[in-house]
Amino acid sequence: MTSRPHPIVHVGVGPSLGEGVTRSRPVGRIGGVSHAGDPAIGSRLSAALGRGSQILSHAGSQLVADHDGCRLDGRVLSSVEDWRAVVNGRLAAVRGAFAVAWHDSDGVVNLARDPIGERTLFYAVTPSELVFASSVQALLATGIVPRTLNLRAVAAYLCYAYLPGRETLVEGVYEVLPGERVTFGSRGLQREQFWELPTPAPSSASEEEQTCQLRSVLETAVRERLPQPDEPVGVTLSGGVDSSLVVALVRRLHTGRVYTYSVSFGPGYANELPFSSLVADHCGTDHRIVELSPAAVLRYIDDSVGQLGDPIGDPLTVPNSLLFRTAGEHVGVVLNGEGGDPCFGGPKNLPMVLWALYPGHAVEQSREASYLRSHLKCYDDLPELLADPVRDAIAARPLVADLTAPLADPRWPDFISRLQAINIRLKGGHHILPKIDALSFPFGVLPRSPLFDQTVVEQSLAIPAGLKLRGTVEKYLLKCAVAELLPQAVLERPKSGMLVPVEGWFRGPLLPAARERVLDGLRPYGLFQRDYLERLLAGKLGGLRPRHGAKIWLLITLESWLRRVLNGR
C-alpha cells in the first residue's frame, strides 16, 4: 500500500487550545433560569457559554435554540419564528442537531434536545428555580448549583468511560436525554420523550434493493450536511470504513475543496496512516496529518477535558480537539464517520453473542454485567478500585439495574437490533456526539455526523440483523452500499478501533505525570483505594489483559475534569 506524502502538522507544546481562534459558530449555546431573579446569574451563564450565547429572557425573546442543519419537511429552520412554530407538537419531525428552550404562554419552561443527541442540554432544580445550560460548566458558573460529586456516577464512568444516562457527575445536575422534553412549572418538573427510536418491521426488500435504499439515504444525509458549494469542507479520516465512506461521498457530492485530517502519534507508535492516506489519494482530497507528541497530549489534556460536560475517558479526546483546531484554520464544517459502529453492527456485538451462548460458566454472567464488561474498562476492577463511599453508592443502586429493561426490551426481538438500539442511545447520545460537539465548539467548527442522521438511524434499524452482522463480517450492508467508492483494502481491512498508544505512553514518557495526577490529584476526593492505584501505575494489576494504559487514561481524565470543571480551577 503506497501513497504520496502528505503535509504533517506537528503539534508540540504551545499556547492554550483556544488562543488565537477567531472563527465562531453561527449559532451560540443556550442557557437560562425559570424565574426572573438575580440578573447576575444570566450574566454568569452568558460568560460561561462563550461567544454568541443565548440566554432565555423572561420578556422579549422567549425561545432560544442552539441548532445546526435543522429541517422540517425539507424546509430549513433558521429563525426564532421558525422554531416557535415547531416547538409545540412538531419537534419529532425536525431533522438535525438542536437544543431548544422556551417559555409557554403560562410561564412553563420547556427544554428539548434533538432525537439522536447532537447537542447537549443540562439542568438543575434549585430550591426555587430551574437553571439550564448547554454545558455543565455554565450551570456551575451560576453559583447556585452546588458542586457536589455524584458518587454513583463515578462508578458508572469507570465502567463505560462516559455517563450513560440522565445523571451527570454533579449531584442534582441532569442531562436532557436525546428526544426528551423537560418542563418546569407550577406542577414541578416533568419529562416526556417526544421521539423514540422507531421499531420498524424488518424490510422485505431484497438485499440489492436495501443496498440501493441505504446508499440513497447516505447520500442525502451527506448532501444535507455540506456547506455552500463553493465553500471548503473538512472530514476527519481515520482510514476505517465509516470515515472513508463519508470522505468518498463528500468528494462525490461537493464541488468545493475537500480537506481531510488524520492523526498520528509520531514515530514508534502504531497508526492507521497507510489506510487514511490511501483513501485521501483515492478521493483526491487535500489531506493533512496531525502528529501529536506525548508532550502535546499532556499539554492539552486539561484544555480538552475542561470542555466536556461530563468526563469522557476515551483517549481520543485530545486528538479530536487538535484535529478540530487544525481543521478550524481551513473550514467551518467538519464531517465525520461517527455512528457506523452503533448503527450498522460494529464491534462489541460478537462478544455479547458469545455471552449468550455460554451462560453459567463460573464468572458473573448476567447479560447486564457482560454488557458492562464489553466496554473493556474497569467493571471487573470496581471491588478493588473503589473506596467504601463509592462502593456503598453502587450497592444501594447497582449499575446493572439500569440495563435490565433495555436489554430485555421486547420491541427489538433480534439480539443485535436490541444492542444497536442501546448503543445508539447510550454511546451515541452520551459519548460520541456530546464529545465532538463540546470539543469542536471552542474552534467555531460545526461537527456533522451523517451516519447519525435520523433517517440513516431509522433505516439502519429496519435492516435485518443478518445484513448488519453477516457471519463475522461487521457492517455488511453498509460496506455493500459503498463498495464501489472505496479501495478494496479499506473494505477488507482487519477490524480495529482507532489506535491510541496509551500503553506505551504510560510505560514511558507520561508515567511521571500520570503518577502525580492519579496518586496526588485524586487523593483529596477519597474515591479510590491507594493500593490499587499503585499497582495500576506500576503495571502490576495482574490478569490476562489488564489494560493498564486505558485505565490510567480513564483516571487522569477524571482527575482533570474534577479539577477543571467541578472545582473550576
Binding site: N349, L350, P351, G360, S374, T472, L499, P501, L544, R545
Partner: protein, 365 residues
C-alpha cells in the same frame, strides 16, 4: 510453622490441637503429624495458580501447582562437596602414605563415598509427579474444611439448561476463530477467564462440551469460510492426534479446506514440566500421521497434562498464538485441510512473567 492468618511462627509443642497459639486459627496440615506439606505451601500454591486472585483456575491446576512447590528434602551442594572431598582425601592418603591399619582408611573412605552418593541422589529429580492424586485430594478436602473454598476456583456444577428462548438471530452469526480442546475442563478454564469474550472466539471440546449450545456453535462456525481453528490439548496420543482428527472428521472441519493450528502441548514442550509428568500407556510406539516416532516413544512413556501449566501461562500463550496467526488466511485452497504447529508454548520458562504479555493494540472508538 507459620500461621497463614496472623503469620506468627509457632513451635510444635505450642500449637496443640492444630491451632495457632497467637490467633487461634486452625491449621489444615501438620507436618509433624505426617502431612507432607504446610498450610503456607498450600496457600502459596493457590496464590501462584490464581495469579494472586486474578485468574480463575481448576482444582487440577492446583494439584500440579502443589506438586511444583512440594520439593523433596535435598542435600545442600556444600554437604555433597564436603563428603566427596573427604572421600578423595582419605583414599588418597591411604594410597600414597600407606599408613598402618590402611584397611580402616579404606572403610572410612568408602563410607564417605556412600554418603556422597546418597546426598547426590537426593538432588536428582524424577520426571514423574511425586504427590499422587489421592494424597492431594485428602489434603484438598482438609484445606476446604478448615479454610474454605479459595477465591477463583472454578466450581464445576452441571451447567444450566441452555435457554430455549434465545433470540432467533443469534445462530445467524459466526466467529473469527475457534479453540478446540481435548478436555471439557480446558473449555471451562478459558470461558471462566473470559477468553472467549475478549477474543471473539468460540471454545469447544472435542467430545461435545458444552453440550447445550454445542450444535448451535458448530453451525455458526461453519458459516465462516475463513475460520481460524486452534487446538489446545494434553501431550498424550489422543491429544497429539487432535488437529488431524479435526481436518478429517466431517462432523468437525473435514472437507472444509481449513488449516488447523496445533498450539500444543506436545512432547517437545515437556522440559519445563520435569517432576509434573504422568506415566504413559506403555504401549509399542508407532509413528502415525501427526506424531513422529520420537514423539511416539515419549508418549508411550509419559503423559503431560495441559493443567500442569499455570492458567495464566495457558491464557497468555494461547493469546500469543492467536495473535501470531491473526493475519493468516486459514484456507488451504483445496478440501483436504492441513495442520500447522505453533510455537506459542515452545519458549522459555513458565514463570509468572513469561509468555505472551499483554499484547494487542490499544483500540478505541
Amino acid at each position: 510453622m507459620k500461621c497463614i492468618r496472623c503469620m506468627k511462627d509457632s513451635n510444635y509443642k505450642d500449637r496443640s490441637d492444630r491451632t495457632c497459639p497467637n490467633c487461634k486459627h486452625k491449621f489444615a496440615f501438620e507436618p509433624r503429624g505426617g502431612d507432607p506439606i504446610t498450610d503456607m505451601l498450600f496457600l502459596n500454591a493457590i496464590n501462584g495458580v490464581s495469579g494472586d486472585g486474578h485468574i480463575k483456575f481448576g482444582v487440577e491446576n492446583l494439584y500440579y501447582e502443589v506438586n511444583r512447590r512440594w520439593k523433596r528434602q535435598r542435600a545442600p551442594l556444600g554437604c555433597i562437596a564436603f563428603f566427596l572431598f573427604a572421600a578423595v582425601a582419605i583414599f588418597g592418603y591411604a594410597v600414597i602414605a600407606k599408613p598402618r591399619h590402611v584397611n580402616n582408611y579404606y572403610i572410612f573412605g568408602a563410607a564417605a563415598l556412600l554418603v556422597t552418593g546418597i546426598a547426590a541422589m537426593s538432588r536428582i529429580s524424577r520426571p514423574l509427579v511425586r504427590m499422587d492424586l489421592a494424597t492431594f485430594n485428602r489434603l484438598w478436602d482438609r484445606w476446604r474444611e478448615v479454610h474454605g473454598i479459595p477465591k477463583g476456583l472454578i466450581e464445576r456444577a452441571p451447567l444450566p439448561e441452555f435457554p430455549k428462548d434465545l433470540e432467533a438471530d443469534i445462530g445467524d452469526y459466526s466467529f473469527d476463530r475457534a479453540v478446540i480442546c481435548d478436555r471439557a475442563r480446558t473449555v471451562d478454564l478459558l470461558v471462566a477467564n473470559n477468553f472467549h469474550f475478549e477474543n471473539n472466539c468460540a471454545v469447544l471440546s472435542v467430545d461435545g462440551y458444552p453440550k447445550g449450545p454445542f450444535k448451535v456453535i458448530m453451525a455458526m462456525l461453519r458459516r465462516n469460510p475463513k475460520l481460524q481453528v486452534f487446538v489446545l490439548h494434553d501431550a498424550t496420543i489422543p491429544g497429539c492426534r487432535l488437529a488431524h482428527q479435526l481436518i478429517k472428521d466431517p462432523q468437525w472441519f473435514g472437507g472444509a479446506g481449513l488449516r488447523v493450528i496445533d498450539l500444543g502441548l506436545r512432547p517437545r514442550h515437556a522440559d519445563p514440566f520435569h517432576g509434573l509428568l504422568l506415566e504413559g500407556p506403555s504401549i509399542q510406539p508407532n509413528e502415525e500421521e501427526g506424531i513422529s516416532f520420537g514423539e511416539a516413544m515419549w508418549l508411550s512413556k509419559y503423559r503431560l497434562e495441559l493443567a500442569a501449566a499455570r492458567p495464566e501461562q495457558i491464557l497468555k500463550r494461547l493469546f500469543a498464538g492467536l495473535m501470531a496467526h491473526a493475519a493468516d488466511d486459514p484456507r488451504t485452497g483445496d478440501t483436504s485441510g492441513a495442520v500447522t504447529t505453533c510455537g506459542a508454548f515452545d519458549s522459555g520458562g513458565y514463570g509468572d512473567g513469561d509468555g505472551g504479555g499483554e499484547g494487542g493494540g490499544d483500540a478505541f472508538g
